[in-house]
Symmetry: C2
Subunit: 259 residues, 2 copies
DNA sequence: GAGTCGTTTTGATCCACATCAATACACACG
DNA sequence: CGTGTGTATTGATGTGGATCAAAACGACTC
């Protein structure tokens, strides 16, 4: 049984900021000082190159929970690196149907969908109070022609997104409900781990409906799968708070198609 | 009723080759002479820049129907531009499940999934005898640092792929079987049109099973939907040969969710 | 022209998830 | 502290597409 007093995992918004001294100079962001380097674009850059990237990533933007970072159709000008917070992207078509296409957390890059047509093709919404670094795209391209590593990093980020999409297609095309949710939880766990949080305990920022939309399921089905996982002892659920009790069990649920 | 003697649409393999004089010089391909410029990477490049791109796109590779262009896990070295023919990409997981993630035709670029990890994440198979242009990736990055338009074109191609994936997620996540097939047919029609073929009559290169895998359906469901479309007068089907009789009807089937 | 194999079509049945509906819970606000 | 609102859970029922099965068709070989 899940105990109410279990300490919550450290919230993203409580990320140690000590690495970013808030001086007049560094208010305009500094990739070189950013703790998210390895997830972002600045990996493998020399000091001088980092300084140039710092010059490019000019401003930050704060968003309140529920605010749009951009909307489908908005002119594309910049990419956004999530500094703190949590986002979802979604697409919607005329008849009202919509689909969440992704959840983005610290260190991940938003907006690449806009490059092809100079306009964004989806909406990006903050699921909690968040902050992003603005990366003017024309300048990024310019600097990428100068800095080989930056160019390569950016190509890798785009490609990583393509691979992620492949995985999601696989999920949507071939998996049953519980497999989808298991895959989702394992993915979340992995991403939290990468960011230094507990792999086993985290707080979901999205509703059951948003999870369902992302996984191609109805919210009731998501809720039932959560309950089922809890009954089976895989996880402990308390609303949006998740504790993974048997990560190996979840993995097996994914791999060994239990026909 | 469909008449057997209806002339088939011009096959891709019958593309006029006159634009590519087969001389000793041009055997090593020439983007500058390629009729697929606007689909590919060479749009907006000056004469000198085109010449440099020609130097990069060194060799072609011919594949017989059924041959793999690359397999998941293969080291990533180059991108491939489809010159003639038709490909599918698919992912498969341990337990035997697999999913077709895309069909690629003339002028489209394959292999971008490999950039992120230096290894391909999916398989690419020729669905008919085909020919690709080999684009060594390191050299493409090198030249992209020199040629602004090439860099931008490449970024656009990657981004276009991201947007395509979004559409596919939408399809897999929210559409019913007949909507999926309608979307598929309209997409095929549009892509054939772009290449100068009839929007209304074409030859599918893939099996029902491959269509099903791509659309997240079983082959029987695909077959039934085809039959249904024929009964309703939307299309005429004869095995892999498709004639669209009521393109507007198909569009409406997609947009106006007929609850 | 008979025989084989892969593909497609069509029918009968089943089941996973959607849908509909009611209740419970958490959180914000007067 | 009650009251409202959005979110989550749980139950009962319906259905779209999967599954199982068989037949038809086309392409290829001998």
């Amino acid at each position: 049984m899940w105990i109410k007093t279990t300490p919550r995992p450290r919230e993203i918004s409580q990320l140690p900021n000590s690495a970013i001294p808030v001086t007049l100079v560094s208010i305009k962001v500094a990739c070189s000082q950013c703790s998210l380097r390895e997830l972002c674009l600045s990996e493998g850059l020399s000091k001088e190159e980092l300084a140039k990237l710092d010059g490019l990533v000019g401003t930050r933007r704060k968003l309140r929970r529920g605010q749009h970072l951009y909307r489908a159709g908005d002119p594309f000008e910049a990419l956004y690196a999530v500094r703190t917070g949590f986002f979802k992207t979604d697409v919607l078509i005329e008849d009202g149907r919509d689909q969440v296409t992704g959840f983005q957390m610290t260190g991940e890059i938003l907006g690449m969908d806009g490059i092809s047509t100079e306009a964004h093709s989806c909406n990006a919404v903050a699921l909690e109070d968040s902050e992003v670094c603005l990366i003017p795209f024309a300048q990024l391209e310019h600097l990428s022609r100068e800095i080989k590593a930056l160019q390569h990093n950016f190509n890798k980020v785009m490609s990583r997104e393509l691979v992620r999409d492949q995985g999601l297609m696989m999920l949507l095309g071939t998996m049953r409900a519980e497999e989808r949710l298991a895959a989702f939880l394992l993915n979340m766990s992995q991403r939290f781990t990468l960011r230094g949080y507990s792999p086993a305990e985290f707080h979901l920022r999205m509703t059951r409906e948003e999870i369902g939309s992302y996984l191609g399921l109805k919210l009731e089905t998501v809720s039932r799968a959560f309950s089922r996982f809890q009954e089976e002892g895989y996880i402990a659920v308390q609303q949006k708070h998740i504790r993974i009790l048997d990560i190996e069990g979840l993995r097996q649920l994914l791999n060994h198609r239990n026909i």
